[in-house]
C-alpha cells in the first residue's frame, strides 16, 4: 500500500488539537487521549518506583545498613515493587499502546466502551492516589507480596491504604481487559479476520483474558487481608484457626498469571518491530498466536512454583514443577520464531529494532533462568535469594521495559506526529542494555552464593558484586532519563512525521500522524494479510522520508 502523504501538519484536525482545555482531556472518550492520560500517570509511577530503586542500590553499596534505617529500607523495597508492578507494568503497555493502537489496528473508531475506558483511568488514578497517600503517610513495609500473618497481624505500617490502592487499580485492569476482548471480537473492520490480526492485537487479547479472569482473585484476597487486619477474622491467622498458606495460594493464583499480563503485550510489540525492520511477515503466524494463548492458559496452572519451600506437600510441588516446564515451551517457540523471521530479511537497525534485539536476548536469559527456578532441587537453594530478583528483573525490565521503550519509539511518530532524534535513541538503547546487564547479572551470582533478598545489611563477602550492581543501576538510570529528555524535546523540535515513516504494515500506519479523532474517514475494508511486506517493499532511508512543513 502507498506510504506517506505530504500533509500540512499545522492546520489538519487531529486528536491532539481537537479541543483544548482540561475538560476536553479529563472528560474525553477518545481512546487516544486516554492512552496519553495513562502515559503520564504510569510514567510518574515509573519514576517513583525508580527513585526507590536507586535508594535501595545506594544502601546496598556497603554491607552495613548505614544509609537508611531498617524500617525505611523495608518500605523502600516494598513500595518499589508495588509502584512498579501495580502502577507501571500491569497497566503499562495495554493502557498506553494498547489503548492507542488496538482500535486503529482493527479498523475501528474507538474501543467498544469508550466511557468505560475513561472510568478505567479514573479508577487507576484513585488507586494511585491511595498509593501516594500511603507513601506520604509513612509507607508500607510488608513486601509487595503482603504475606500473612506479617501483613495482617504484625506490620505497623499503612497496609490497608496500600491494599486499597492495589484493589482499586485492579478494577482498571479488569475493565481494560473487558473492553479489549469485546472490541477485538466485535469491532474488527470488514476483512479483518482473526487470521489477519496483527500479533500485537493477539497478545493483548490473551493478556485481557488473564486480566479479566485473574485480577478478581487478588482483589478478593486483598479485601480479606484488609478485613483480617481490621477485624481479626482468622482467615489467615493460625492462632485463630486460619491458614497462612491459604493467602499464598490465593495471592499467587493471580500474581503468577500477572507476570504474563506484564510480558505478553511486550511480546506483541516485538513481533511488530521485528517484522517491520526485517521487512518480512512473521515466521509462523499461527504458532505465534497459539503461543500467546498457550502462555495465558498454562500460566494459570503454575502458581505454586512460588511456594516450593512454603510448606506445600511434596506431591503438589512435583506437579507444579512439571507444569512450569510446560509454560516455558511457548515462550521458547516465540524466541525461535522471531529469530527465524530475520532469516532472509532486509534488516535495518533503527532504535526500535535495537530494543527488539535487546528484548530477545534478555528475555532469553530471563526465561532460561526461570527454568532453573522451576527445577525443585535448584529452587530450594535459590528461592528467596537474589537469583529470583535477577530472574524477574531480566524478564520484566530486560524484557518488558525494553519492549515498552521499543514500542514507544516505534509508534512515537504516530502518537505525536514527530520523529524522535535517531542517534540519541540508539545511544540511549545502548546505555540501557549495558546498564541493565551490569545491574542484574551479578545478582544471579549473588543469589547462588546465598545472599537472601530483601536484606538491608549483608555479610561482607557479597559486597563486590553489590557494588557492580549499583554501578549498573546508575548507568541504567541515565539510559532511562535520556528518552524522557529527547521525547519531550521532539514534541517541539522533532522532525515532523509522515503517516508511515517506517513504511510499516498495519492499519495504524494508513492514518495520518497524529490520527484524527475518529481514526478513519471511512471504515477500511481489509483485503490483505497481516505483515504484507512483500507488497510494501523497503524501509525508507532518511532521504526518502517525505517531510512535511
Amino acid at each position: 500500500m502507498a506510504t506517506a502523504v505530504v500533509v500540512d501538519h499545522g492546520e489538519r484536525e487531529n486528536y491532539l488539537n481537537a479541543g483544548y482545555g482540561l475538560k476536553s482531556w479529563l472528560l474525553t472518550r477518545d481512546h487516544k487521549r486516554i492512552a496519553l492520560l495513562y502515559l503520564l500517570s504510569i510514567t510518574f509511577f515509573f519514576f517513583v518506583g525508580g527513585f526507590f530503586a536507586l535508594l535501595i542500590r545506594l544502601e546496598l553499596l556497603t554491607p552495613a545498613g548505614d544509609l537508611v534505617q531498617s524500617d525505611t529500607y523495608n518500605k523502600l523495597f516494598t513500595m518499589h515493587g508495588m509502584s512498579m508492578i501495580f502502577f507501571f507494568l500491569i497497566p503499562g503497555v495495554p493502557a498506553v499502546l494498547g489503548n492507542f493502537l488496538i482500535p486503529i489496528m482493527i479498523g475501528a473508531k474507538d474501543l467498544a466502551f469508550p466511557r468505560l475506558n475513561l472510568l478505567s483511568w479514573y479508577l487507576f488514578i484513585v488507586g494511585g492516589l491511595f498509593m501516594v497517600y500511603t507513601i506520604m503517610a509513612g509507607g508500607v513495609d510488608t513486601g509487595w507480596t503482603f504475606y500473612t500473618p506479617l501483613s495482617t497481624e504484625f506490620a505497623k505500617t499503612n497496609v490497608v491504604t496500600a491494599a486499597l490502592g492495589v484493589f482499586i487499580a485492579g478494577f482498571a485492569s479488569i475493565l481494560t481487559g473487558l473492553n479489549f476482548i469485546v472490541t477485538i471480537h466485535r469491532m474488527r473492520a470488514p476483512g479483518m479476520t482473526w487470521n489477519r490480526l496483527p500479533l500485537f492485537v493477539w497478545s493483548h487479547y490473551a493478556t485481557s483474558i488473564i486480566q479479566v479472569l485473574g485480577t478478581p482473585v487478588v482483589a478478593i484476597t486483598i479485601v480479606l487481608v484488609a478485613l483480617e487486619r481490621l477485624f481479626h477474622l482468622g482467615v489467615f491467622n493460625p492462632a485463630l484457626g486460619g491458614d497462612p498458606l491459604l493467602f499464598q495460594h490465593l495471592f499467587w493464583f493471580y500474581s503468577h498469571p500477572a507476570v504474563y499480563i506484564m510480558i505478553l503485550p511486550g511480546m506483541g510489540i516485538v513481533s511488530e518491530i521485528v517484522c517491520c525492520f526485517s521487512r518480512k511477515r512473521i515466521f509462523g503466524y499461527k504458532a505465534m498466536a497459539l503461543a500467546v494463548l498457550g502462555i495465558a492458559v498454562i500460566g494459570f496452572l503454575v502458581w505454586a512454583h512460588h511456594m516450593f519451600v512454603a510448606g506445600i506437600s511434596l506431591y503438589a510441588a512435583l506437579i507444579f514443577s512439571l507444569l512450569t516446564y510446560f509454560v516455558a515451551v511457548p515462550s521458547a517457540v516465540k524466541v525461535f520464531n522471531w529469530t527465524a523471521t530475520m532469516y532472509k530479511g532486509s534488516i535495518t537497525y533503527q532504535t526500535p529494532m535495537l530494543y527488539a534485539f535487546g528484548f530477545i536476548g534478555l528475555f532469553t536469559i530471563g526465561g532460561l533462568t526461570g527454568l532453573f527456578l522451576g527445577s525443585l532441587g535448584i529452587d530450594v537453594h535459590v528461592t528467596d535469594t537474589y537469583f529470583v530478583v535477577a530472574h524477574f528483573h531480566y524478564v520484566m525490565v530486560g524484557g518488558m521495559v525494553v519492549a515498552y521503550l521499543g514500542g514507544m519509539h516505534f509508534w512515537w511518530p504516530k502518537i505525536t506526529g514527530r520523529m524522535y532524534p535517531e542517534s540519541w535513541g540508539k545511544l540511549a538503547a545502548l546505555i540501557v542494555f549495558i546498564g541493565f546487564n551490569l545491574t542484574f547479572f551479578p545478582q544471579f551470582i549473588l543469589g547462588y552464593m546465598g545472599m537472601p533478598r530483601r536484606y538491608h545489611a549483608y555479610p561482607p563477602e557479597f559486597q563486590i558484586l553489590n557494588i557492580l550492581s549499583t554501578a549498573g543501576a546508575t548507568i541504567l538510570a541515565v539510559g532511562y532519563l535520556l528518552p524522557m529528555v529527547y521525547f519531550l524535546w521532539s514534541l517541539r523540535y522533532g522532525e515532523i512525521a509522515p503517516a508511515n515513516p517506517w513504511n510499516a504494515a498495519g492499519l495504524e500506519w494508513q492514518v495520518p500522524s497524529p490520527p484524527p479523532t475518529s481514526n478513519f474517514d471511512e471504515t477500511p475494508v481489509v483485503t490483505w494479510e497481516a505483515y504484507n511486506y512483500d507488497e510494501l517493499g523497503e524501509i525508507p532511508t532518511k532521504q526518502e522520508v517525505p517531510v512535511a512543513h
Binding site: 504475606y147 497481624e153 511477515r281 519451600v309 515451551v329 533462568t369 532453573f372 535448584i378 528461592t383
Partner: protein, 321 residues
C-alpha cells in the same frame, strides 16, 4: 572458590551438579541463539538490490523446536525432582533438634536439653533433622552451604534435614521477609567433629533432656489424668503412637506425626480418635512453643519398651543412629 558458596552437606554436591548442568545447557542455548541473531543481523542486513524473502513458516520446525526443548526441560524436571524428594524425606534415625523462630532470632533445643540461640552445633557425618515452628510470622531457615531452605510457619511444624560433610562454620540466614530485623535474623551452623561435638554437648552441663522436661509438663498440665498407659483412660493411650496410623472418628486414618501431636494439643477437636469422646480441652494460648516441643518430644519417646519409665537422655533414646 570465589563467587561460589561453601559445600558442606551431601545435598550441596547434588544441587551443584544439577546447577552446572543447567548452566552449561543454558549457556549453549544462549550462545546458539545470540550467534544466530548476530549472524542473521549481519548477513541479512539491508543491501541494495536484495529484497526480503517472505517465508510463511514451517510446521516441522515448530514441532522440532517445541519437542526438543521440552525434552530438555523434562530432564531438568526429573533431576530436580529426585533431589527434592530426597530433601523432603528425612531419614528415620536422624538426630532431632527443635527450632523455634521468632522475630528476630533462632532458638534451638537439642534433645539433650541443650539450648542455643542463633547458633546451632551439629556433628559432621550424621543425619540431623530440625523440627521447626514460628512464634509469630513466617520465617525461612536457610543454610547456603547445605543448599537447603525451608519456610518456618506459625501454627505448625515444618522439617528440614541435612547430613553435614565438612566441619566448619556456615551462614544461617532467615530467607522469608519477616519485618524490621529480617536481615539481622542470621546466625551460624557449627559443624563439629564427633569428638568435639560430644565434648560440647556434655560441656553445657546440667541440661535436662527435652523429653524429661516434656514428661514433667505432661503431669503439670494434667495430660496424664486422661492419657494413661492402659486402656482405662478417657483419652487414647499415647505409648507407641508416634508415626503410626490413627483411625479417626470420621473414618479417616492419619499418621500421628509431629504436626498431629502438636495439633492435638492446640486444637483437640480437629481430629477425634475413634472410640473417644471430644472432651479434651485446648491448650492454645496457655502453652509456649518451647513447652509444646518438649511435650511432643516426650510423646515421641514413649515406645512400648519404655512404657512407665523415665525417658532416656539424648543419645540413648530411639532417635539416635
Amino acid at each position: 572458590m570465589p563467587f561460589w558458596p561453601d559445600s558442606a552437606s551431601t545435598t550441596a554436591g547434588q544441587v551443584d551438579a544439577l546447577y552446572i548442568f543447567m548452566v552449561l545447557v543454558s549457556a549453549i542455548m544462549t550462545v546458539l541463539i545470540f550467534a544466530t541473531l548476530i549472524f542473521f543481523a549481519i548477513k541479512f542486513r539491508k543491501r541494495r538490490g536484495k529484497e526480503a524473502e517472505q517465508i510463511e513458516g514451517s510446521t516441522v520446525l515448530e514441532i522440532t523446536w517445541s519437542v526438543i526443548p521440552f525434552a530438555v526441560f523434562l530432564a531438568f524436571f526429573v533431576w530436580g525432582a529426585v533431589i527434592y524428594f530426597q530433601e523432603r524425606t528425612p531419614p528415620q534415625d536422624a538426630t532431632e533438634v527443635y527450632t523455634v523462630a521468632k522475630q528476630w532470632m533462632w532458638k534451638f533445643e537439642h534433645a539433650s536439653g541443650q539450648r542455643e540461640i542463633n547458633e546451632l552445633h551439629v556433628p559432621v557425618g550424621r543425619d540431623v533433622k530440625l523440627i521447626m515452628t514460628s512464634q509469630d510470622v513466617i520465617h525461612s531457615f536457610y543454610v547456603p552451604a547445605f543448599r537447603i531452605k525451608q519456610d518456618v510457619l506459625p501454627g505448625r511444624y515444618t522439617t528440614f534435614w541435612f547430613h553435614a560433610t565438612k566441619p566448619g562454620t556456615y551462614h544461617l540466614f532467615c530467607a522469608e521477609y519477616c519485618g524490621t530485623q529480617h536481615s539481622g535474623m542470621i546466625g551460624w551452623i557449627v559443624v563439629m567433629e564427633p569428638r568435639d561435638y560430644e565434648a560440647w554437648m556434655t560441656g553445657g552441663g546440667g541440661n535436662q533432656p527435652l523429653a524429661v522436661t516434656g514428661q514433667q509438663l505432661f503431669s503439670q498440665f494434667g495430660c496424664i489424668t486422661c492419657h494413661r498407659s492402659d486402656t482405662q483412660g478417657r483419652g487414647p493411650n499415647l505409648v507407641g503412637v508416634y508415626n503410626k496410623p490413627v483411625l479417626l472418628e470420621d473414618g479417616r486414618t492419619v499418621n500421628a506425626d509431629d504436626n498431629y501431636i502438636r495439633e492435638s494439643i492446640l486444637d483437640p477437636g480437629a481430629k477425634i480418635v475413634r472410640g473417644f469422646k471430644p472432651i479434651m480441652p485446648t491448650f492454645q494460648g496457655q502453652i509456649t512453643d518451647e513447652q509444646l516441643n518438649a511435650l511432643v518430644a516426650y510423646v515421641k519417646s514413649l515406645t512400648q519398651s519404655q512404657a512407665g519409665q523415665t525417658p532416656k537422655a539424648a543419645g540413648m533414646g530411639t532417635a539416635t543412629p
